[in-house]
């Protein structure tokens, strides 16, 4: 590695994933620089979720390497993996807040048990993060009392409270009613302004145009094309990307 090139915050190298006989990812290479927002698009089944889930090993890669700030995610003990996962925040389409715990407890649980933060410090950090997503006043509510958009913002706060180096978003707004999408995208935009490194899988093309540094187009388990949003949306090179974009814009119209 040359000295002029700073260490990528997240580096995916020759990543392969097979489920039995089906090859879902083939030789994925992706470097995400510090503070960069990489936006991932592609048809259903192209492997977007699988790639994200391999990054924190919710899915076990078949081969390849993942590094976060130069440290390996693979070939390490389970304890070390748990520690590494603290650096990789993940936000799911289905939120997955803990329904039996208050909003505050949702945000403090991993701080207390995984990071071993003292209670007072964890509470303070949780309130700070809840404030950031505009939900400090809901700290004592139960998740079931919140709208989907609010739940997703709490899920973002839960991940942020652990001070991750990179945040992964897997279709964070796809389960939301249209009128609630904006509030979550706003939080993500704020995060980006704050310099968070992010990979976002989503169908919100408008958000990609405004906020992404780079757009990655996946199809059939490979990265077919990538570039700045203007290039990808304005001047797609590959036939597959052109077909995908016209299909997506056809759906939106």
């Amino acid at each position: 590695m040359s000295a002029s090139q700073p260490l990528p915050t997240l580096e995916i190298t020759a990543l392969e994933k097979r489920f039995g006989e089906t090859q879902v990812l083939r030789s994925i290479d992706l470097k995400v620089a510090n503070g960069e927002l990489v936006f991932v698009i592609g048809p259903s089944g192209s492997g977007k979720s699988t790639m994200l889930r391999c990054c924190n090993r919710l899915e076990e890669p078949t081969s390849g390497a993942i590094h976060v700030n130069g440290k390996p995610m693979l070939g390490i003990t389970r304890r070390d993996l748990d520690r590494m996962r603290l650096q990789v925040g993940m936000v799911f389409q289905g939120f997955f807040l803990y329904p039996h715990l208050s909003v505050l407890k949702n945000v403090t649980l991993a701080q207390r048990k995984a990071l071993k933060r003292p209670a007072a410090e964890a509470d303070a950090r949780a309130l700070e993060m809840l404030d950031k997503v505009g939900l400090k006043h809901k700290a004592n509510a139960m998740p079931g009392e919140l709208s989907g958009g609010q739940q997703q913002r709490v899920a973002i706060a839960r991940a942020l409270a652990l001070d991750p180096k990179v945040m992964l978003f897997d279709e964070p707004t796809s389960a939301l009613d249209p009128e609630l999408v904006g509030s979550v995208l706003k939080v993500m935009r704020d995060l980006r302004e704050g310099g968070m490194t992010m990979i976002v899988v989503s169908h919100e093309m408008q958000f990609a145009r405004e906020a992404a540094d780079r757009v990655v187009f996946m199809d059939g388990g490979v990265i077919v094309e990538q570039g700045i949003p203007d290039e990808i949306f304005g001047n797609p090179k590959s036939e597959r990307l052109r077909a995908f974009l016209s299909r997506v814009s056809g759906e939106a119209a």
Binding site: N56, L58, R78, R79, D82, R83, R85, L86, V88, G89, M90, F92, G94, F96, L97, Y98, P99, H100, L109, A110, K113, A114, L115, A155, R158, A159, L162
Partner: protein, 223 residues
């Protein structure tokens, strides 16, 4: 009418039998406490094994659960109490009952815990693991609390069944409530002590049964 009252609801005989029955009730209470704690602990451990991703762990747990749910607990008890001495192991009645109940109750509780664990969405585990919680922490703080909440009526129903089932301990001469009542019946030639024992069960279990059906109604409304 009088004959019925005399044979089953004879107050004088009940009064005479009361001290003996209370002693028996005390034994039953202790027995319940021990076998319920054993059953829940064993059942939880077994339920976790039966929920394992690892088939080498899961399958033996399943076999255990199936086998001991299928064997009548009374046969199990007599086998342990009267059968083990033939291979040189002699156990006191209380211990025999505890072993038989541990085997039987663990299997039932395990099945309840297992279905509770299964009822928790997979995303819950993934969300917890993604935040760096270990598998054990994920179970303890995220999965089990939800699992128990989801199957609470079943857990309580099983507790009621166990309390009633402790009366089979009378066959190995453990002086619990039924044994004491039956002794009083034999001495007095009158069934009133048995009725009294049944009433004692009723008084304790009725509130519990009410709570359970309230739960079940609540669940069916909310779902």
């Amino acid at each position: 009418m009088d004959t019925i009252i005399n044979a089953f609801f004879n107050i004088d005989i009940m009064r005479q039998a009361a001290p003996l029955l209370l002693k028996g009730a005390w034994v039953t209470l202790q027995l319940c406490a021990v076998v319920i704690i054993l059953g829940i602990s064993g059942g939880l451990a077994l339920g976790l094994l039966a929920s394992s991703k690892n088939a080498a762990v899961r399958l033996p747990a399943f076999v255990f659960i199936d086998v001991f749910r299928a064997i009548p607990p009374l046969i199990l008890l007599i086998l342990i109490y009267a059968g083990l001495p033939f291979i040189g192991i002699r156990v006191p009645p209380f211990v025999a009952v505890c072993i038989a109940f541990l085997l039987n109750n663990s299997a039932y509780f395990a099945e309840i815990f297992r279905s509770g664990i299964k009822s928790v969405a997979r995303g819950q585990t993934e969300a917890a693991r993604a935040t760096g919680l270990s598998p054990a922490q994920t179970q303890a703080y995220v999965i089990l609390p939800q699992a128990v909440r989801n199957v609470l009526p079943d857990l309580l129903s099983n507790v009621v069944e166990i309390v009633k089932l402790t009366s089979i301990a009378s066959v190995v001469s453990l002086t619990e409530l039924l044994y004491s009542a039956n002794m009083a019946r034999a001495v007095t030639y009158n069934s009133s002590p048995l009725v009294m024992a049944a009433l004692m069960y009723l008084v304790v279990l009725w509130p519990l049964v009410r709570v359970i059906s309230r739960f079940q109604r609540g669940l069916s409304i909310s779902s």
